[in-house]
Amino acid sequence: MTILKRLALAAGIATALSSSALAADMTVGFSQIGSESGWRAAETSVTKQEAEKRGVNLKFADAQQKQENQIKAIRGFIAQGVDAILVAPVVATGWESVLGEAKEANIPVVLLDRGIDGPEDLYLTSVASDQVKEGRVAGEWLVKTVGDKPCNIVELQGTVGSTPAINRKKGFEEAIAGHANFKIIRSQTGDFTRSKGKEVMEGFLKAENGGKDLCAMYAHNDDMAVGGIQAIKDAGLKPGKDILVVSIDAVPDIFKAMEAGEANATVELTPNMAGPAFDVLEAFKKDGTVPPKFIITESKLYTPADDPKGEYERRKGLGY
């Protein structure tokens, strides 16, 4: 027993020494939700890339969509004495106690991609996208492209009640609100999946005179847009020309569609949440710079003018 204790102590001292000796290379624990979607897989691989680029020693824990696994992982990181913890919280509630433990151990926590319900002093900062803005950018692009012509829009919503679906709908509606010629005539959920997106779009095309009166399709994510594009093609119309296609996420396959002239615009939800997180952590470690509480990532618009082929090649290896 005493030998074990001594060994543990020695190991602890060793880690403490190594971390103080090499202040530049941090050890950061990253508790990821799991592999729920292609975007999440890309976020994981980009985080690993960013860590490697900066010489950060990344400890990765996959929670398989369970909060208890995330809490276990965070406790593990605290016990290992990491320099910082990144968490992509699977749910918003129930973080007070474990993040309190991290705070007591003086380990800064950065939330990635999603927020939590709880006191703001539990974490250093959160890096996330503004989903309302994503919808707004998509809507503004459509308003600018179509101009004053009357435009009937069909909307493929995300999963009913999910935050991105609510926010992306809201942002888009804000963007077209001042323009009477833009009308969302049909809106249904495609559950963020390709097959449901295709099925819903097939229904819309039948219901709207074979799609001849439609001007644009707005999808809350690219996967549904890819399904919708196939449905438009099956109905004998040209996606991207007869019906404009605008969506959100910027996954590789939408760039393939863009290259083929079948998609017109996508708004990027960047998988690089860890880059800004590492930046603020480095600054915080160096001279204690306290970052703003909410860091919003850029919602960049991509159109066929932005080298879709190059974008596809750049992204396809990321695990989308």
Partner: protein, 371 residues
């Protein structure tokens, strides 16, 4: 030449399907419009058949399993595995035939696994197949490495989106499978064996049925059906989506089988009616899409209609209907007799005055309403 079995065609399931289709037509007048476009039929009704085909195929396999007093929760996950195998194989340069064969073999293997757990190890079906329901999706994710594997192999895509004699391929495949399965269970003794095992496995075994082999075969065929559905779904979106392909479809398949009159207690089943059940579910889905209701209503509307159909089919409703039916026949006979006797001797002013023709006598079941 036997009489056309009208009473076998008109039953609760087909009436419910007609009702849902009629409702769709009321909500969207163009529902029954079918056009000829690019060498194939095109319309909402075709969409119902086409999108309903994967669940119909699943329901066919599921019906066999449920008839043996089992259940297969893994079909959705097996779909994902089969789609993933087919997609990765064509992307790796194998021929379409090899990819399809590989996917079918994967499905068959999953089915045999379930069958062995249930028949040889005597694990309860709901638990035995739960193993693969969870693990199968993981296997599919391992095969696709978590991403959507897209392909552009025209022959494989044809299975999901092509057409044969104007009908979509999935519909053709589902129809042929249904025909084959129905003939197999109704024109041979296999159907009887399945029912016997479902009612009482020990008794069936004692009577000489090799129930273990039968169970393994039934579960393997269910796995095979799931693989076919998985290939169709992957071909439909030109890609294998391990996270979402077939997600929750096992529940739709069970529901379709139950709507089709198959008893979860085993022993009673009908494959064509399970297919009708699958079409009812899909007719609701398509109806919601073309009706223009906000998506928040989808699940509530579906649940409401399903509850209504199941209530109509429930033993209680059957009892009530039979009760009224019997009463009706008796009332008809009674009033007819009254009318005849009054015609023969119209003595009193009203036939109702005669003691033999009193309301209480002719309508005993509703006489409480006037007493």
């Amino acid at each position: 030449m036997s009489r056309f079995p009208l009473n076998r065609i008109i039953n609760t399931q087909t009436v419910a399907l007609a009702g849902v289709l009629l409702l769709n037509w009321i909500l969207f007048p163009g529902f029954f419009k079918i056009e000829w476009q690019d060498g194939r039929l095109f319309g909402s009704l075709i969409d119902v058949l086409n999108r309903g085909a994967p669940v119909a195929i699943l329901a066919g396999g599921m019906t066999g399993v449920i008839a043996t007093k089992g259940v297969d929760l893994s079909v959705g996950a097996v779909m994902a595995v089969a789609g993933a195998v087919a997609a990765t194989m064509v992307d790796a340069g194998h021929s379409t035939a090899a990819a399809v064969a590989g996917a079918l073999a994967a499905g068959l293997l999953c089915g045999i696994w379930n069958g062995v757990l249930v028949a040889l190890l005597d694990i309860q079906p709901i638990i035995a197949t739960l193993v693969l329901m969870v693990a199968g999706r993981g296997i599919a994710q391992l095969i696709t490495e978590g991403s959507i594997v897209t392909f552009s192999d025209p022959a494989l895509i044809y299975i999901g989106t092509g057409s044969f004699l104007g009908l979509p391929m999935p519909v053709v495949i589902a129809f042929l499978l249904m025909l084959l399965a129905t003939l197999a269970v109704r024109r041979t003794a296999i159907g009887l064996f399945i029912e016997a095992v479902g009612v009482n496995r020990s008794a069936a075994t004692l009577a000489g049925i090799r129930s273990r082999l039968l169970l393994i075969v039934v579960y393997s065929l269910c796995g095979l059906c799931a693989a076919i559905a998985g290939i169709i779904v992957a071909a439909y979106i030109h890609g294998a989506d391990a996270n979402n392909a077939g997600l929750w479809l096992e529940l739709d398949a069970i529901l379709a089988a139950v709507i089709g009159g198959t008893s979860l207690l085993g022993g009673r089943f009908s494959i064509p009616m399970a297919v009708v059940g699958a079409l009812i579910i899909q007719a609701m889905n398509t109806g919601i899409l073309v009706s223009g209701y906000p998506p928040e209503f989808n699940l509530v509307v579906k649940a409401g209609i399903i509850t209504l159909i199941l209530m109509i089919q429930s033993p209680f409703a059957t009892m009530v209907l039979a009760w009224f039916g019997r009463g009706e026949k008796r009332s008809l006979r009674c009033t007819a007799a009254c009318a005849r006797s009054w015609q023969q001797s119209p003595s009193s002013s009203s036939p109702m005055r005669r003691p033999s023709c009193s309301f209480r006598r002719c309508f005993p079941r509703v006489s409480w309403a006037i007493s």
